[in-house]
């Protein structure tokens, strides 16, 4: 009897406590909303939003619904996160490897890079790039061409756009190439395991990857043209580039700040991973007779990646959450478009803030679940 009380009393109290808090908050919200004449509901999502968004990946205008505005914001968030993740990974791996270099200068430059960018608040870095560094860029009419065709100006970065004809044929060819490479790999592995024969898979793969898309150009009717940005005079003193793709300065500042900041954490993960593989492993692999390339590919990397990937994914997740700072420099991400503008217009504070938080929560939990699955899969299974 005593045991049962000991076991159930704290649980019942805890549940009661949570229920009471939620009840208290709900009742308050109910009375507050009644007093102000606001009703709770998600019907506003299908209403016309009647505000414009500066930069969006899908077609959007003021006559579209709030749900579509939400989608625009979400896509913009994912876009900036995706670009930043690519850059921060490249930078992070380089810096992480550089920190292990035997060269005193390289080692210390990398260490100072990490200490420098890690210890300045991300928001300040975003502000610095947006308000100070990018504002010092030239006006469109005075911009010099980078690589001959792209223009970095104070109004954004202008790059050529690709104009495809029969893009789907090209994509199918790419898909076919990838599938045939996978098949080839499996076949080669099978051949090696059963007959001990080796075939140069990498060489064949590269050949397939080049030849198949090339064929689509020759026979599939695919053609690619570049639309170059052209300087256009708007008024006496105002110029702008037309054609091509323009990346707004908000996006550039955000990508710069996010990737520089997160790359320091990725670099630390990479360093820890490589340091985590014991030296004996390398020596043992070499003494078995593996070539340096094989040692790296078959012994070091699988073990280092096991240490590197989980914390790095965590950093990617942090980056995605940090991309919400975009609201500070008016990049139309989920927070600015939905929790900012849409909230101002509809006044549906509870619904909109919950949707925004739930969206981020869903992204986080999905990635966390995938990570857990992956960790279980690569776990060293001891017999």
């Amino acid at each position: 009897m005593n045991n049962i009380i000991k076991k159930f009393l704290p649980q019942i109290l805890a549940i009661l406590f949570v229920v009471l808090i939620f009840g208290f908050l709900t009742i308050n919200a109910q009375t507050n909303m009644d007093n102000r004449g606001i009703d709770f509901g998600f019907g506003f999502l299908s209403q016309e939003s009647s505000f414009d968004v500066q930069f969006s990946l899908i077609e959007y205008s003021g006559s579209d619904s709030y749900a579509r505005a939400f989608l625009v914001g979400l896509l913009n968030t994912l876009l900036v996160s995706f670009i930043s993740i690519i850059f921060c990974t490249i930078l992070g791996v380089i810096i992480g490897v550089a920190r292990l270099s035997s060269n005193y200068l390289i080692k210390n430059s990398a260490a100072w890079y990490v200490e420098f960018f890690r210890n300045i608040p991300l928001l300040l870095q975003i502000f610095f790039w947006y308000y100070a560094a990018l504002r010092a860029l030239p006006l469109p009419e005075k911009a010099n061409a980078w690589f001959g065709v792209t223009y970095m100006t104070v109004k954004g970065y202008y790059i050529p756009a690709m104009v495809w004809e029969n893009l789907n044929v090209f994509l199918y060819c790419g898909l076919a190439a990838i599938i045939s490479i996978i098949v080839l790999r499996n076949y080669a592995n099978n051949l090696r395991d059963t007959q001990g024969k080796q075939i140069p898979v990498l060489l064949y793969s590269i050949a397939i990857l080049i030849v198949l898309p090339l064929l689509s150009f020759l026979f599939g009717g695919v053609s690619l043209e570049f639309e170059l940005p052209q300087l256009k005079k708007l008024s006496k003193i105002s110029y702008i580039y037309e054609g091509g793709i323009s990346l707004p300065p908000e996006l550039i500042a955000l990508v710069l700040a996010l990737s520089l900041y997160t790359s320091t954490f990725v670099a630390e993960c990479v360093r820890a991973g490589i340091e985590g593989v014991s030296k004996g492993q390398k020596e043992a692999a070499a003494s078995v007779g593996l070539t340096p390339n094989q040692v790296l590919k078959l012994v070091i990397m699988p073990q280092a990646l096991r240490i590197i990937i989980p914390p790095t994914t965590n950093q990617y997740l942090n980056l995605t959450k940090n991309s919400s700072l975009a609201a500070a420099i008016a990049y139309p991400d989920l927070v600015l478009v939905f929790a900012g503008t849409a909230l101002m217009q509809t006044g549906k504070a509870i619904e909109i803030v919950s949707i925004t938080m739930l969206t981020y929560l869903t992204i986080s939990l999905t990635i966390a679940a995938i990570m857990n699955w992956y960790n279980k899969k690569i776990e060293i299974k001891e017999k």
């Binding site: 200068l105 200490e115 210890n119 610095f128 940090n322 929790a339």
Partner: protein, 423 residues
Amino acid sequence: MQTINFLKPSRDNIKNYSIIGSFLVLISLIDVISNAFLKTNLTSFLPGSLSSLFPLILGLIGLNMMRIDYSGNKTLDKLNKNINTNNFNAVLTLLILFSIIKALPPSLSWMILDANISGDSKDACTGTGACWTYIKVWFRRFMYGMYPNEFHWRINTAFILVIALGFVGYFMKENLKKYLALYYVIIYPIIAYLVIYYLISGGSFGLQWVETGAWGGLSLTFIVSFFCLIFCFPLGMIFALGRRSNLPAIKYISICYIEFWRGVPLITVLFMSSVMFPMFLPEDFFMDKLVRVIIAITLFEAAYCAEVIRGGLQSLPRGQYDAAKSLGMGYWKMHIFVILPQALKLVIPGIANTFLALVKDTPLIFVVGLAELAGMLALAKTNPKWLGFAMEGYIFASIIFWIICYAMSKYSYNLEAKYKTER
């Protein structure tokens, strides 16, 4: 007779090669330095791209000549081992040296040589460099926000008092030490709150009332992060214990809490505190904006704190639990006297890291209209009398934050190293 190979550097011709090599490296460095500082191109007689690559090629040849293994010369050996192990490393070494030299003159002239600091208006800034006058004039605003100038001593006194009270633990008598945890977890936060409330807010003891809207600058960063830290620690401890509990209801409530706050960005939490929170409060109940922000950040950071403490709890060997249980201790007795004292000592570095993240996150409170350092900068930047000094402002703020965060990260690193050896 031993032949001496003059073409390949070795121990036999060490003198010739090391002298020629260092001479070549010296020339390449002189070329770059004169290029950067004196703006004269010594190698202008060479055709275009070769002229700019000249120092690199020369330096590379020089370093190649100096690369003699086991030369017997200590300095040379050290140099070779550290910056000159192979050609690739030599190129990187030269590139880093050159870029440092190239970057020095413009940054020096912008920050110091051509900069202005005298005067107290925009007109004093005539040079092409930075305008530190701007920082000088706005310094008090950056530190104290809109807090009235004549009351700044109140903020200073309050901070000194709070810090002094924090060190009380070190000077406590031996027989009082057992109450240390009690002091830090319950008594200290209350005293600190009272000190800050009565000194900075004022309103009694003849001190004029200053509303929280006027607080700002770096001092607000300290106030927010300080309160969030002392509140989130006990809360985090509760949820860490909850997550490790055997009772399913408590365990899952804790897991939900922790995973929820860890899954959302702080900026949405602050949005919640500013637009959603008032809806959930009783009708005639008013809560100050600053208090709401502190509650929101505390709830948020408590989840991170809980995970750090859980790590400490998990790293304790099972034997500690078993031993405590075999002595007949109950859950609370076991945790208070055996588990937590050991676990908390382990997690101090982790807590320091959480606190570091917290300090770096405080600039975000600008979204609810509280202007700490970054917010004050945004305000100063749009002041019509001081347009165009964004760069100086952000560099100043970055330096300040960098010093604070770097000191803290070094401190937490030292703590980590200290506790590692003790166990």
